[in-house]
Amino acid sequence: MRIQIHHEIVQTFDPAAKGLIESLRLAPRSHEGQHVIDWRIDVEANCRLRRTEDAFGNFTDMFSLQGPVETLRIVAEGVIETFDCAGVVRNSIERFPSELFLRDTDLTVPDAALRALGATIKSDDKIERLHGLLLVVREAMQDNEDGESAASGLTAAQALASGKGGARDLAHVFVASARAMGAPARFVSGHYFDDGKAGAQCHSWAEAYVEKVGWIGFDPVHCICPHESHVRIACGLDWLDAGPVRAASPGAIAQTMAVIVRQSGFLHAASAQLQGQQ
């Protein structure tokens, strides 16, 4: 499937930011099942974007600005071709052995409830256990539609206790309980393309490592393994490693940052044509 994505982030600062420094993880990389055909990032301000690769192999674009900045628009857009690989991620950039993804982070420390999630699943097969976990997480957590855009810093344990959350929270819960089960797991951020409904939306899901198979995606919101509707942008131990934007405004006290995310996505013309011919 060929998907065209337009991802727009508008940040509004009150009071105006004197200075601004941000790191963006908005650029996807190609791997089996996902080919980046065209992609660009635009920050509508007079600054230089410096691209580096972070420790997990994600593209990171850094920029800094001298203020005052009241509003800043960041656009990431491009065309991606995706194929259904049954959720298995192959030929992605891997900088660490899977063992690293067993470590806890502040956002994914397992509490008793998170441990209990995995403990109820009875199966010897690792993949089956993870699919089981997917169901359990979905049942335990209500999907909260706008959870993704809220800048809440809920930990996995807090999210599970509240019983609802956005895609990010569900992914954290999955990651934390998978790790508690002994499966290396990581957080993935990206886009989910829903042709019938909203076009494209920012999305988060999880990946878990299974011996001999590799990394497999698990999307607790849709209760499926990612397929051709998922565009994978970045991965890491938790949201902080993989989320689209981290921003800091040096010296700012009691400053509020409002973020609006606008997205659109549609089947690319070339792909539609292709389907027409069939």
């Binding site: 200075g19 420094i21 941000e22 790191s23 230089r48 410096r50 580096t52 972070d54 420790a55 997990f56 850094m62 800094s64 001298q66 900088r95 660490f96 052995p97 063992e99 690293l100 067993l102 470590r103 502040d106 810093g153 131990l237 902080l240 981290r246 921003a247 800091a248 040096p250 010296g251």
Partner: protein, 475 residues
């Protein structure tokens, strides 16, 4: 339990005084106690006037306290010191090689010498640093290696402090105060100087500056601010080094370059001697709620535009669980046997060791793997039954989090306490500086002394005091 006898550094356990202590002994004998008491009062006055204080976490009324100072110097002979110095430099060399490797090719894991989960699951291992190289491959520029002595030739390393070791200001201040108080005693010893520590430190910091900075590299000391327990030391060192003392909000990163706010406008910084913990150093890369750090600092470091001393992620090397592997680490990277011995340690993560520890809990010292400053540890022989039971619960719940060591028969030194001169337990923290041209150790270091009779805990946060440490020419 074996009855513990302690080796005394002045008498060596026998009736005679060891040669290095000859003159100090004569001085002690010829000086009446009231003169010693007067000297101690003068010392306290001097310290108060200098304002050298520290804060004890968890104490309400005393935000700042004076560290107890003992006026009887600790004496180490030059030949003893030379051996120790060689061992220290070797150890720091191995630690640096280990850090290069663990954040690089990870050969040591491939060789199967260290269980990988000890590295990858370690909170002090920073995935963010993987694949990055430290300038000149120096990760630990300032190391404080805690040593104890148990006999004539028996030195053990208690722990390696490879993050932001503190205490060097006490080493320098103690010497200054001693020279003012007891000039006579100084004049009849040939004592190796420690005053050049700050010069060595500055040279070391400048030597690792990014190669493309033109002119004299700009060094600054980054402090978390006045609420930090070691703030006095930060301001003291910045003053002695002749560099700016900065807090996070004084610095900013623009296009991968670090600038410092000055009255003449922004000034580029090449080397940051940072005394902020990894977690707080960059809210863009680590804890996002940190207000102490500098956003973008890690990026500037990765771009090679600033050097951090010590580098981020060095905590993995002073982890108490990895400590037990130090002899193997030294051998793996340097092909040499470790000169300094490790204290025998049980890794509670191993089932057999845990069993042993639980059986002998009353005899051992049990420490948290990632703890420091004497917090969260159990000294078996000095703990009550209730304390032991309490601690055992924690130990069983999370055995990975603990290591156990025998209570070492730490050497004693004469100290002037309430009722005269009496032996007290001591340890030693020498400071190893590593720059582009290799390592240097200032002769001596910080001697910490447990002022309570029989106590083995020397941490200043737990009521320990300090002494001046003299390395003197062998008679």
């Amino acid at each position: 339990m074996v009855e513990q006898t302690f080796w005394d550094e002045m008498t060596g356990g026998g009736a005679d005084v060891r040669t290095v202590y000859g003159r100090v002994n004569e001085w002690l004998k010829s000086t009446p106690p009231d003169v010693l008491a007067a000297r101690r009062t003068q010392a306290e006055l001097l310290f108060r006037r200098i304002g050298i204080t520290f804060a004890v976490y968890g104490e309400k009324d005393a935000a700042e306290r004076l560290i107890p100072f003992d006026i009887i110097p600790r004496v180490i002979g030059q030949s003893e010191w030379s051996l120790m110095e060689k061992g220290l430099i070797q150890r720091v060399k191995a630690i640096n090689a280990f850090l290069c490797d663990i954040y690089g090719a990870r050969e040591i894991l491939r060789a199967g010498l260290i269980p990988p989960d000890l590295v990858f699951g370690n909170p002090h291992f920073r995935p963010e640093m993987a694949g990055k190289r430290a300038p000149h491959d120096v990760w630990v520029h300032i190391a404080g290696i805690d040593m104890v002595r148990t006999g004539e030739d028996e030195f053990y390393v208690l722990e390696d402090n490879a993050r932001t070791p503190s205490g060097v200001s006490y080493m320098l201040e103690n010497r200054e105060v001693m020279m003012r108080l007891l000039p006579d005693l100084f004049s009849n010893h040939r004592i190796a100087p420690v005053e050049n520590y700050t010069d060595l430190l500055l040279n070391c910091l400048r030597s690792v500056a990014p190669p493309r900075s033109a002119g004299e590299p700009v060094v600054a000391l980054l402090t978390p601010g006045p609420y930090n327990s070691a703030y006095y030391e930060h301001s003291f060192l910045a003053d002695r080094l002749g560099v700016e003392l900065v807090e996070g909000h004084d610095l900013s990163v623009r296009d991968g370059v670090v600038y410092m706010r000055t009255t003449q406008g922004p000034r580029r910084v090449d080397v940051l001697y940072r005394r902020i913990d990894d977690d707080f150093i960059d809210p863009l890369a680590f804890r996002p709620d940190s207000v102490l750090g500098v956003p973008g600092l890690l990026d500037a470091y990765a771009a090679g535009n600033v050097t951090l001393a010590n580098a981020i992620g060095t905590g993995i090397a002073d982890d108490k669980a990895l400590y037990t592997y130090m002899p193997e680490i030294v051998k793996f990277y340097l092909g040499e046997e470790a000169i300094l011995k490790n204290v025998p340690t049980w890794r509670c993560r191993e089932a057999d060791a845990l069993k042993y520890v639980r059986e002998h809990i009353g005899e051992l010292v049990i420490k948290e793997v990632n703890g420091s400053g004497g917090y969260g540890m159990l000294v078996g022989p000095h703990a009550s039954k209730a304390e032991i039971a309490e601690f055992e619960k924690k130990l069983v719940a999370q055995p990975d989090n603990y290591i156990a060591q025998p209570t070492l028969s730490l050497s004693t030194c004469p100290a002037f306490v309430e009722n005269g001169v009496a032996p007290r337990h001591v340890d030693l923290r020498p400071f190893v500086l590593t720059g582009a041209e290799g390592s240097r150790v200032v002769p001596g270091g910080l001697t910490r002394v447990a002022m309570r009779a029989g106590s083995l805990v020397v941490n200043s946060s737990q009521g320990g005091g300090t002494k001046d440490t003299w390395v003197i020419e062998d008679a």
